[in-house]
Amino acid sequence: MKRHNDLRRALRLLDISAFDVIKAVTAGVLALGSAIALGAVSAWLIARASQMPPVMMLSVATVGVRAFGVSRGLFRYLERLASHVVALKGMAALRTNLYDRLSRGNITAVARITRGDLVARVGSDVDAVGDVIVKAFIPALVAVVLSAASLLVVGLLYPPAALTLLFCMLLAGVLAPWLAQKAGRESEQQTAQARADISSLSHDLLTTPGPIVVSGAAPTMMTALEGHEQDLYRATDRNARLEGLSTAIFVFALVSSALLAALVAIPATAAGTLNPVTLTVVVLMPLAVFEIHQGLPAAALQLHTSSTAASRIMALLDAADENLNHDAVDPISQTGTRHLEAHNLTVGWPQKPVLSKVNVSVSPGETLAIVGPSGSGKSTLLMTLAGLIPPHFGTVTLDGGRIGPANQHDLAQHVAFIAEDAHVFDTTIFENLRAARGNLTHDEAYDALRQAGLSQWVEALPDGLETLLGPDGTTISGGERRRLLIARALCSSASILLLDEPAEHLDPHTADTLISDLMNSAANDKKRALVIATHRLTPIHSADTIIMLSQGRIDLTGTHDDLLLQSPTYQNALAAEGTIVQ
């Protein structure tokens, strides 16, 4: 039920106009209504014509049949356009609302989600919520209106026939869709495990095929795969029975509607209480009615899919609506040396502290390197230092004033966090750099690119700073992307830069060069402090302070020379990285 509630809440964000919905439903009613009317009037025409009346008596019916023949296609076209207008406007509104609330809401909600997940929420999940309009709501509304109208017409002609029609409608319009939805939902749940197993096994086979064939493990893995496929098959087959039942009930309702109408109406005609022409209409019209119920099983499934998507969207928005703790922060001073300090800090996600008893301090002109294996809490620490997530315990201060999510927007001018998966916008190089600071000049941009080691690259480009980068920077290499993110960080007005794994996914040699370049440029720039989180020790030997994290604590603190002399752990870790052959 919570999921349906989520769908309702998400639909409110679509800002749907009632007028647009009425337009779409009206067109839909006219389209399928034309089909029903065509069936009914044709039946009347044939039955009446068989009584050989003057042709004049039939002229209205013949015109009507032709008109309904044309209007159905026409209104169907208009209905499709009108319902897509509702859905598309709704999706655009939902995206705008999402942006609005996520950009104003609690920063932690945005910081906590990966970029890939965010894209899925605002992309396919929003589409799925919009689809519910076109594929479920409008068809359902049209079906309700026309079912009622058909029952009314048949009821006026011969009331008992309306009862048999109602019975068939309940089968085709309620029972069959319910069964189809049940089958779809259960099939999804019951095959989830098998699908996950198949996905991970085939992932192993595809990413490390060499070792697998050489060690002779391929047949074993294929056998394991076959086992999961059997599970998948059995679960699908179980639910295919329900799907089959749903179809059978629909067809049963469709054909038996004419049979049942004939059974109840023929005695009345034989007794002379029901006109034979009306009898023909009462028997043949139902055959045209059930087209309105045909889309309902798919609509029921769509409702399920859309609810799931809506739950994910609402979870994100709920996180963004979490109250900010304004009491935990102080106003940011306009002047100050920009000295960032953490005192007895415990950091982590809610209910999951990863790192505790952290004391660090950094001022412009200094470099601080935070090293540790993945999962040791480096990123979480940096995000806490940047005020993106609240600390579990302890405080982070800038020039003595406490900082946190509640004053992060103002803080961002002084302390900037550059995520490992920071986004490269689908626009020019210059606009990408300007994302860090609005009043950036071309000269400053060139300067930042030079410091990031990209000046030769950008000068070789025919359009220079105006070069378009393509969606998510896919047109540039991994190394160029990393350097561009660094250049953007350098364009920021912040005097303290926190960089998370700035060389991730690069080969060790390129990664080490990139980080040592960055350390060197920071050493020359006395106005800035640089904090880098990395898992490699080799390139950070020039850092003023190195902090090694291990087992949820700061394991070691010191300069490279101190640590090399005093700590066997540091020596081993450094040796383990090996000498890179140049």
Binding site: R95, L206, V213, Y233, S256, L284, A412, I418, F425
Partner: protein, 561 residues
């Protein structure tokens, strides 16, 4: 794009059975649809024209009740078999694709593509892509087959009942595809142009939203809100312009089919007035006429299901059609007395524009350690792949030399060679099993196990695990760190009796103490006569090698002749 590719039927056996079954069910269904129309007419006509009662039409009513049950049963069976066949076809194709790409080899899989690597593309295909075949089999294909069964059979019967109606249907039927193709061609240019604009706008909206985290980190999130709204509105407008054209062909389909049914009814009515046709025939024709067009309309409705399904099959076919390099058949010589000679080995990657390795020559002899060293990307792992016959070199040879006899690797049965090989790779995942199962502990003596565990440093790992050797690792099991995983694999290598031992950076994640034990063990493996090849960066490992080969790469630009 063919709506039904015959190759799909030969490739996936369940598809063939399903198509035959669906066609058969279609024929039977068409029989019942005819019976239904004729029976309804037979029930109504005597009542309307002769004032007959319920008992006079009892026989056709009972028959009609049978048709109701039969049609419902057939339709239910059809749906059920459709889901079954779809999942069977997906399973079959997945297995065939995975088997085929394993034969195509690691090199083919690791090649980069626009969206990642061939491995990631293939993974998307075998998990999500193939699922598009389900709506294709369940919704589209049955209707396509019904156009070949119900439509002609019903048309023939209409002809039999009434020539005029038959002619109307006969001449309007081909208009449907003709007009749809006509509309499609006329609008193709403009719709393609609009589609480009539309997807571009859609991508821009998503791009801004995806960058929200980045914008907020810089405190720059406020400005773009207006742009999100503007782009969203532009996207809606551009999509509607596209749809206005795209829905035209659907309208033509609806218009022609409904109008034809209406024309048949009007023609029937007018001729009934003059007594040119009987009531029963007329009733049967107007019940039957919509059924002639119904499959055609459904095919149009499920057109999307067809394009996605056909695209998935095409992607599968593109992989399955790739020729597998011919495998050698000759038995390899006994490796214990065989040198592996690499001469001028060059492997060019056109995707990366690199020759790596470039002109490498090295010999690995039994009883020695051969080290490959070089910068990352220089082709060390590629050299190992070539040594194992997992890729065909661009130039140069790998030869097995026993005494005076030479065996070119390309002619040998590599499977036999692999049986006598153990390879510790940097990237290999552990299978989902317990450590005891992975290491096959039942096969080895306790002394040998103890020795291998201490030599690899695995003993310390096991001591820390909750269930010791019985801990399940790999997917679905306990996650091991890189270093722990490496020790499991080292123990596996040390427990193996294989003659050829290939170790890719065997000490990369080990502490200094374990490293020296591991290096000593590797040395003793060589001293006991094994052929050991290591990829090494660290001097400690290079120091114990008998031969060191420097692997280098060179930029390679494609020269088009």
């Amino acid at each position: 794009m063919k709506p039904l590719d015959p190759d799909l039927l030969t490739q996936a056996r369940p598809a063939r059975g399903y198509v035959i079954l669906t066609a058969a069910l279609g024929f039977i269904t068409s029989g019942f649809i005819l019976a239904q129309a004729l029976l309804i007419a037979a029930v109504l006509a005597p009542v309307v024209s002769q004032g007959a009662g319920l008992s006079d039409v009892r026989t056709p009513l009972i028959a009609l009740a049978c048709v109701v049950v039969a049609r419902a049963t057939l339709a239910g069976a059809q749906t059920r078999f459709a889901h079954r066949a779809a999942v069977k076809v997906i399973i079959t194709l997945r297995e065939q694709i995975l088997n085929h790409v394993l034969q195509l080899g690691p090199r083919w899989l690791s090649a980069p593509t626009e969206s990642g690597t061939r491995a990631s593309d293939t993974h998307t295909l075998v998990t999500r892509g193939l699922d598009d075949l389900r709506p294709y089999f369940v919704n589209y294909l049955p209707q396509l087959l019904l156009t070949a069964t119900v439509t002609p059979v019903a048309l023939a019967v209409v002809f039999g009942l009434d020539l005029t109606s038959g002619l109307i249907i006969f001449f309007t039927l081909p208009l449907v595809p003709i007009f749809m193709i006509l509309v499609g061609t006329l609008t193709q240019n403009s719709s393609q142009r609009r589609l480009v604009v539309m997807s571009r706008l859609g991508a821009q909206v998503l791009d801004l939203l995806a960058g929200l985290g980045t914008l907020r980190a810089f405190g720059r999130e406020i400005g773009p809100a207006a742009r999100v709204k503007k782009l969203g509105d532009a996207y809606t407008a551009s999509t509607m312009r596209t749809l206005r054209v795209a829905f035209l062909s659907g309208m033509v389909l609806e218009l022609l089919t409904t109008l034809s049914v209406a024309l048949v009814a009007v023609a029937m009515g007018l001729r009934l007035v003059y007594g040119n046709v009987g009531l029963e025939a007329a009733l049967a024709v107007i019940v039957l006429a919509p059924e002639v067009y119904l499959p055609l309309r459904q095919v149009g409705q499920h057109f999307h299901a067809s394009t996605n399904g056909i695209a998935a099959w095409q992607a599968a076919k593109n992989i399955l059609d790739l020729p597998v390099p011919p495998a050698g058949t000759a038995m390899p010589p006994n490796l214990a007395s065989t040198r592996i000679v690499v001469t001028d080995l060059t492997v060019v990657s056109t995707e990366r524009g690199l020759a790596a390795p470039d002109n490498l020559s090295v010999t690995a002899a039994p009883g020695t350690i051969t080290a490959l060293r070089g910068a990352s990307g220089s082709g060390k792992t590629t050299t190992v792949l070539a040594l194992l016959g997992l890729l065909t070199p661009t130039s140069g040879d790998v030869t097995l030399v026993q005494g005076e006899k030479s065996y070119p690797l390309s002619q040998l049965d590599t499977t036999a060679l692999w049986k006598d090989t153990v390879w510790l790779s940097q990237r290999a995942a552990l299978p989902p099993a317990s450590i005891a199962e992975i290491l096959n502990v039942a096969q080895h003596s306790p002394e040998r196990l103890t020795q291998a565990f201490s030599a690899s440093g695995l003993d310390a790992v096991i001591a820390d695990l909750p269930n010791g050797l019985n801990t399940t690792v790999g997917h679905g099991g306990l996650g091991l760190s890189v270093g722990q995983r490496q020790r499991v694999q080292l123990a596996q290598a040390f427990l193996s009796d294989a003659q050829l031992v290939i170790l890719d950076e065997p000490t990369a994640h080990l502490d200094a103490g374990t490293e020296s034990t591991v290096i000593a063990t590797i040395r003793s493996l060589a001293d006991s006569g094994r052929t050991v090849i290591v990829i090494a960066h660290r001097t400690s490992l290079l120091n114990v090698a008998d031969t060191i080969a420097d692997v280098t790469s060179r930029p390679h630009t494609q020269v088009n002749a």
